[in-house]
């Protein structure tokens, strides 16, 4: 196999989709129904493991010193509009892709607790995998948008069909929140693209080109950034757009929660760092204090609300709001330490929160309740479960030697330089995190065991252990020896920072020289047909401002 020409990324993106189609068509091959779903599960596991293997192979060939896109592939998709299928991997996306491919086999193994329509469940999961990997590797803005939207439908079905009692409410809320944000982002994308067209005379949706050659006035930039940030902020979710998350998490089946917390939420952060910041750096700077404030509110508020929960899953969901607040804080602080910390924390959160949701799933499968009050003293009855719970709890509250510590430490160190006061307030979240997680642990694992209720509880079985062991290994590996992870991010991040700095400077030059005071046109205004190419020097001639 020739490593230079083989389309690794495309196979990574589309293999799950092919797998999903095969899974959907399975009844045609095996008319004698796959009654218990063994075949479906086996096949889905096989596909997800192959995808994971490919991603590992790519990781071994990933050049840590190279700051550019690797394994990139490019083909025209809609040439008339300059839209292309352009995918590539760099230090920002590589670990998130790995996280996705790593979690997916675990989710498939954990699907044993799903009993109805298993084939559809697994097919949805595989489609979701395609969408997530596609979102992470797309370097064309429209391609990104398509994959971004493709994440909706499978998750909508996963929560809607296999979810809990209030699943319909939760899933509609999830989709509508996301759609509002992403459609506004689409308008912003158009605006940027047409500005580029006016200035350069041709159309493109390639991120790099847009980033280098689109000149925007400060006011335009603010509006565009607001649209992007709203879309990403809803996805993360940033306070006050977080209300869909607890609902979605509580109603989603275990696997759905794992993917939602593990990967989907990261998409908002990834979009911020990949698209919003480099395209609109000055607006991002201007908004940074406000976003940081919201992030800190999210940290503290999420932690306090988590503390007040009686439902274990809801507690973990609110802890996500709190933890992702740190990642946002790290990104908006915008220095190398904080950003790499935030990137690292994204991976940590995927692992520890994913594991916590799996643990909650284990309890729920056995007792069909998630209320803390229904448990107590489990440590004596299910020691292995208690041990796993302890490890992931400690990882979640960022104990040194676990992965969480490295991430939070880097974030707080880095963001202290930029937002000292906010960071100090945010640090209370660490304390609160310990409080609510240890309270949860204490209430469920210690105390009196109710024999009548939980006397028949069985410990983690081999299959469940298989889902936890890889996560356990990662917790300690990432906590003790983070260097391999950070070193692959570093060159890309360095190049990224200098590219953003260049763009900031270029935009300032543009503002001073070319477009002293132009307003964004938000009102209707008719234009006569204008010539196709307009001179780059006078891009705003046709933009009369209407009062």
């Amino acid at each position: 196999m020739n490593f230079d020409t083989f389309p690794f990324l495309s196979s990574l993106v589309f293999l799950p989709l092919v797998g999903a189609l095969v899974l959907y068509l399975l009844p045609f091959f095996r008319p004698d129904h796959d009654e218990h779903g063994t075949l479906s599960r086996g096949f889905a596991l096989f596909v997800s493991l192959v995808v994971f293997a490919i991603s590992l192979l790519m990781l071994t060939h990933f050049d840590a010193a190279d700051s550019g896109y690797q394994f990139s592939e490019r083909a025209d998709w809609i040439p008339y509009f300059g839209i292309s299928y352009f995918v590539g991997l760099d230090g920002i996306s590589v670990w998130l892709v790995l996280l996705t491919t790593f979690l997916m086999p675990l989710v498939v193994i954990a699907s044993a607790s799903v009993h109805k329509k298993i084939r559809g469940y697994l097919a949805s999961m595989l489609v979701l995998e395609t969408a997530m990997i596609g979102t992470l590797v797309a370097l064309d803005v429209f391609l990104f948008y398509v994959f971004w939207e493709l994440m909706l439908a499978p998750m909508y079905f996963i929560i809607g069909i296999w979810g809990g009692k209030r699943r319909i409410y939760a899933t509609l809320k999830f989709v509508l929140y996301t759609v509002v944000g992403s459609l506004l982002m689409l308008v912003a994308i158009f605006y940027v693209v047409w500005r580029f067209y006016e200035q350069q005379g041709h159309l493109t949706f390639l991120l790099d080109e847009l980033q280098m050659y689109t000149n925007l006035t400060r006011k335009e930039e603010l509006w565009m950034f607001a649209a992007f940030a709203l879309a990403f902020g809803i996805k993360v979710p940033l306070f006050p757009f977080h209300t869909w998350l607890p609902d979605a998490h509580v109603e989603a089946p275990t696997g759905g929660s794992v993917v939602l917390a593990g990967v989907l939420l990261k998409m908002g952060l990834y979009g911020y760092i990949r698209f919003a910041y480099p395209l609109f750096p000055r607006a991002a700077d201007a908004f940074a204090p406000y976003i940081a404030t919201l992030a800190v509110i999210g940290i503290v508020y999420g932690a306090l609300v988590a503390w007040a929960q009686s439902d274990i899953k809801k507690l973990v969901a609110y802890s996500s709001v709190s933890h992702l607040g740190y990642c946002v804080l790290g990104f908006v602080a915008f220095n190398a330490v904080a950003t790499s910390g935030a990137m690292y924390q994204m991976l940590n959160h995927g692992i520890s929160t994913g594991a916590l949701f799996l643990l909650v799933g284990v309890l729920y499968d056995r007792k069909h309740t998630r209320l803390m009050a229904d448990y107590g003293g489990l440590a004596a009855k299910v020691p292995l479960f208690a041990f796993l719970f302890l490890v992931f709890t400690l990882s979640s509250i960022a104990l040194p030697l676990t992965n969480g510590f490295i991430g939070e430490f880097l974030i707080l160190t880095g963001s202290f330089k930029t937002f000292p006061v906010l960071t100090v307030i945010g640090t209370t979240g660490v304390v609160l995190g310990a409080v609510y997680m240890l309270t949860l642990y204490m209430k469920t694992m210690y105390g009196e065991l109710d024999e009548g209720k939980n006397g028949d509880l069985t410990d983690v079985n081999g299959r469940e252990l298989a889902t936890f062991l890889p996560l356990l290994v990662m917790v300690f590996w990432m906590g003790i020896y983070p260097q391999p992870f950070l070193s692959r991010m570093e060159p890309t991040l360095n190049a990224y920072f200098s590219a953003v700095a260049e763009r900031r400077a270029a935009l300032n030059v543009y503002e001073n020289d070319v477009a002293p005071s132009q307003d964004i046109v938000l009102e209707r205004e008719h234009q006569q047909a204008r010539p196709v190419r307009e001179s780059a020097a006078q891009p705003n001639l046709n933009r009369a401002v209407e009062g």
Binding site: V146, L150, L184, F190, W194, L522, H526, Q527, Q528, P531
Partner: protein
């Protein structure tokens, strides 16, 4: 001066074939006995011949000529609209096969004859280069359609829908005719291009009045706010295949005709009508999407959805340019919208056909648990709903919105585009509600109501529409670029 040559006959052969077919259907009806399928086959044969003749005569259309002494446009735009109208009619015939009786249509011969009459009228309406021809096309189409709405003779709802449509429709036609008459008084001509020329010299208040009157006629036929009130009632009462026909063919032809009259005939008055269209588009999108949220009847919901989509297309009217403009976007959108809407109505037909006399046959509760009862119908409906909402895997709908909204932003209607996307976010709710009913709910008594066993024809229409809904979005270039080519010589 006025000789009609072979060339004119050739260029309008689809209209002539369909119109002649309409008469032929009536004639042979007498000899065909009671059965439905020979008539359906004859109808399909006539449509195929018309399609072939349209294909054969593509070269002159490509050159962009006029037929009948400049009374009819024969350019690529006309060609595409004719193709789409024929395609829509074909889908209508296919989904109606063997269900006409269940839908209460007792005389299939008349039904097909009227359907063809309406199709012929629709083609004339959309391709006319002269306002009287345009009006004749409009009336031929509308008259046939009034009858079609009432084709279920014993159904009171069908008759009610026919009467409502007739009364309101004839009003709007009369208003439009008044506008045409005024215009003739000002300019002394009824040919669209000379009108434009004359108006560029004498742009008076009277011209604006006539423009307003003509606009009312178009807005009524397109089914946009504030002249949309007929649509939900008529869509709900008419037999489902007729509803599907109205939703796609009539809208296609009205949009085509309006585009021609506004962009060519009133191209100089653009500052006058663009404001009106702006308000019409905004009102249509907001109102239709909000009202659709409350509908329980799927046919009414789809009626409001079709009003909403008319609103999106109105945005395209405003963005005329040299490239990447609204015209091509509208053409692309019409194709996608036809596929998705006919597909959705076919599923509704399959669910309701056996109970069409029951006014609640298309209630959303009848779709509960459809995924269990008929996975194929449910999956197709899910794809159509996602497509109409513009969410992948309904890629065609997404690309349609992409083209329209990007054209609007390009023409600096950013505010309008924002209203549009917010409205389509609202629309996601009611489209997804159908998926909720089909997939997330237990059938809850709905299984009592027998589904129509999808015939081969219906099944193939559904398959075709699903494939179109997905692949037209993944490979949109061929269609969009031919639409763009059509707009070059507009």
């Amino acid at each position: 001066m006025t000789t009609v040559g072979l060339k004119d006959i050739a260029l309008s052969s689809p209209v002539l074939l369909i119109g002649g077919g309409s008469l032929l259907m009536l004639l042979v009806d007498v000899f065909m006995g009671k059965r439905e399928w020979p008539r359906a086959f004859l109808a399909m044969a006539i449509l195929l011949v018309a399609l072939i003749s349209l294909g054969v005569f593509y070269p002159p259309f490509q050159a962009g000529v006029m037929a009948f002494n400049g009374f009819v446009y024969a350019d690529v735009f006309s060609w595409l609209i004719t193709l789409l109208v024929l395609f829509g009619t074909m889908l209508t015939v296919l989904i109606g096969m063997n269900v006409l009786e269940q839908e209460g249509i007792e005389s299939p011969g008349e039904y097909y004859s009227l359907l063809f009459m309406a199709t012929a009228g629709a083609i004339v309406f959309a391709t006319a280069a002269e306002l009287v021809t345009l009006f004749i096309g409009l009336e031929t189409m509308s008259m046939a359609l009034y009858c079609l709405c009432g084709a279920a003779l014993r159904s009171r709802r069908s008759s009610e829908s026919a009467l409502k449509y007739f009364l309101l429709g004839s009003f709007s036609s009369a208003i439009m005719l008044y506008g045409i008459a005024l215009l003739y008084g000002i300019t002394g001509t009824t040919l669209i291009e000379p009108i434009a020329e004359a108006l560029s010299r004498t742009d008076t208040v009277l011209a604006h009045c006539s423009l307003a009157l003509i606009l009312i006629g178009f807005v009524f036929k397109i089914g946009a706010v504030p002249f949309h009130f007929w649509a939900p009632d008529v869509y709900e009462g008419a037999p489902t295949p007729v509803t599907a026909f109205m939703a796609c063919v009539i809208k296609t032809s009205a949009v085509g005709a309006a585009l021609r009259v506004l962009w060519v005939g009133f191209g100089g008055q653009v500052l006058f009508w663009s404001g009106t269209i702006w308000y019409v588009a905004v009102l249509t999108m907001i109102l239709a999407n909000l009202v659709a949220l409350r509908q329980r009847s799927l046919k009414r919901m789809l009626a409001y959805s079709s009003i909403a989509h008319a609103g999106y297309m109105m945005m395209g009217f405003l963005s005329r340019g040299t490239q990447y403009d609204g015209g091509a976007a509208i053409l692309y959108y019409l194709v996608v919208y036809t596929i998705l809407t006919v597909g959705a109505f076919s599923v509704v037909l399959a669910v309701t056909a056996k109970h069409s006399a029951n006014p609640h046959s298309d209630d959303i509760s009848r779709f509960y648990g459809l995924a269990e009862r008929n996975p194929f119908l449910a999956l197709s409906m899910a794809v159509f709903m996602l497509g109409l909402a513009g969410i992948p895997p309904g890629m065609a709908g997404l690309l349609g919105k992409f083209y329209l909204f990007s054209a609007a932003v390009k023409a600096n209607y950013v505010g309008l585009a924002i209203v549009g996307v917010l409205c389509s976010a609202v629309s996601a709710y009611y489209y997804l509600r159908v998926i909720v009913a089909m997939y997330f709910r237990e059938s809850d008594g709905a299984e009592k109501f027998e589904l129509l066993e999808p015939s081969v024809a219906l099944g193939s229409v559904l398959t075709l529409c699903v494939i179109g809904a997905v692949f037209l979005g993944i490979f949109p270039s061929a269609l969009y670029e031919s639409a763009a080519a059509a707009m070059v010589h507009f």
